[in-house]
Symmetry: C2
Subunit: 333 residues, 2 copies
DNA sequence: CGCCCCAATGTGAACGCTAACATAGCGCCA
DNA sequence: TGGCGCTATGTTAGCGTTCACATTGGGGCG
């Protein structure tokens, strides 16, 4: 910076002013400085700036498995939004779901001097940790979160109801459910949406089984579920598990949707090419990412704790070919 | 830091020494300092440290679409490895593939003072940009890369040969190929592996078609490909496109692998639950991420340009149920 | 018993920037 | 024509570290 100042024949402060588009620098002077900067290929040192301003223009993202479609898309949305706002994203991915690991991640990020944190970790434990975060650090949650923290989320309950009602509307007596792991808030909310939809319709409430989001678990649980010949409609808590279920159905030679209807959740891009193409609930992860970052930036600029806002994005039913009315009577494969 | 020093009755320098586990500080003193740190909940300021040391302990990752399985897993591998080495990861994802956008990303990262860069962007343009990066900044490529830059990669050619030979070995007269977009090095390498395998076996070399990695493009291209009744075996450049092809085959009522055999590439976790479970080539992305980071750290610690090393990881054939010998003669579904 | 050396600690400066205040120069009005 | 007030610029200090060097206090050796 000194060199630039010298070359331009001004003081370092003037250089700084040019950097910040300060209005009180004469066009001629600005030109000179700009020229000197280019000449020397000057690049401001962000560490020095951070040191004096106390802001790093960096935001931390805590994520639990960036390999999954949901978190990955959300992350991408956040990244894009951050980029547009001229912020950087630092990622910490959780290896385990314990309270300690979340706290450790939070700490690491704080030590790093991030200006704020977005948590894509829709887990109970994560939220407990977030809740009693020593304040001063703005935090928002993405995808799903507790009341205590601002969050941009999809209305999971509504999504599950959409799915359940769709199946009920087709004439199924009831709808079975393969849920996600119970420590995920989303899984619980979907289960609860499913349950209320059944109750509202006066339909019987079957026991629900819980998987771990993976296709494998959908497959394993599907095997058990299909022992019961009464099962004609299944709402699966995500598309991957739904794929597993589809697989079992094929193995058993039961037609989809002829014998059994299946609805997933997420709307992963591949869903449209499953056999059959999967009816599912679409969540706009990108939007979630975008909005959660907006919420966070608001909190950062606003200084203290932001308005305790929950932004909710509506899910949407994408009807494809894995759902149909139930088999009319006793059915032969 | 001053406060800690004061409370412990030592100088700030001694505090710094304790922070760095300097050997020349008496155990008693260290205890006092440690106690004072805890008491005051002291956290070293990373910006200040970065300012004076010139290192940020941050590495930048350029990625082109973190939603895809490959890049996402690689990213995860990098993150984990970085975490273990006590580095942070800053992400920049490319919106477009132009040379300018790559250069811009590189610049942004450099301005940020990252200690090094990993590029997960197996595109020709990306590499051209990497190649003439003003030196001084260590860069490695992950997944695939040009000779000029150190890279941790999977042997794509070998993988494609594995796939092709597997099909040939089953008795297919030849193997068709749905390739990835030609601006991806991986796509080109896979195509070339396929071609050499055919040539080595003296098999006819059909024209190849190219998609964009998506299931949709696999579907669309599959439609055209299947016009030709001679097609009994297809090697598809990734699992998602293979899924699309599977979909067409089902729609056409052609049995898999009875009528047509399909081999994918990547081994995404869902592949085992496709209908039928997909034979594919596994790439260990996690390992790639890990190794590329190791390469980078080596370059950083080593100071100047690292040994011009290419680390190659062997791919592996995962045989599942989408491949079988060709239909014996004229075949009826 | 005095000296030297080493281990343990302290001191000052520097890293590159921004914030706050100080100063110079100028036009304008009385 | 003197002074006021503005705009454009310069000066100084300080952000929280680490680095290089200076200082202190013992213990061992001659």
């Amino acid at each position: 910076m000194w060199d630039v100042a010298q070359l331009a024949g001004v003081s370092h402060q003037t250089v700084s002013r040019v950097l910040h588009d300060s209005p009180s620098v004469r066009p001629a002077t600005r030109e000179k400085v700009l020229a000197a900067m280019k000449e020397l290929d000057y690049r401001p040192n962000s560490a020095a700036r951070a040191l004096v301003t106390g802001r790093t223009r960096t935001i931390g993202v805590i994520s639990f498995d960036t390999t999954l479609y949901g978190p990955a898309s959300t992350l991408l949305g956040i990244e894009r939004a951050a980029h547009d706002a001229d912020y950087f994203i630092i990622i910490v991915s959780l290896r385990s779901f314990t309270r300690e690991s979340v706290l450790a991640a939070l700490d690491r990020l704080r030590d790093r001097g991030v200006d704020g944190i977005v948590a894509i970790a829709p887990l109970q434990t994560a939220y407990d940790a977030l809740r009693d975060l020593p304040s001063g650090m703005p935090v928002v949650a993405a995808v799903a979160g507790p009341d205590e923290v601002p969050v941009a989320e999809v209305d999971q309950v509504a999504g599950a109801q959409l799915a359940t009602r769709h199946l009920l509307g087709l004439g199924h007596r009831t709808v079975h459910h393969i849920a996600g792991p119970p420590d995920f808030l989303e899984a619980r909310q979907r289960a609860s949406g499913w349950r209320t939809a059944l109750r509202d319709a006066g339909a019987p409430q079957p026991v629900m089984v819980t998987g771990d989001w993976s296709a494998r678990s959908g497959y394993d649980l599907g095997r058990g579920l299909l022992e019961d010949p009464e099962v004609t409609a299944v709402f699966v808590a995500n598309d991957h598990m739904a794929l597993g279920l589809l697989r079992v159905l094929h193995e058993r030679g039961r037609s989809i949707p002829g014998a059994v209807s299946v609805v997933g959740f997420d709307d992963i891009p591949e869903g449209a090419f499953f056999t059959p193409p999967l009816t599912t609930i679409r969540q706009d992860f990108d939007e979630i990412g975008r909005r959660s970052l907006a919420l966070l930036l608001e909190a950062i600029d606003g200084g203290g704790r932001p308005p305790q806002r929950h932004l909710v994005v509506a899910p949407e039913l994408v009807a494809r070919q894995s759902t149909a009315p139930p088999p009319t009577t006793a059915e032969g494969p």
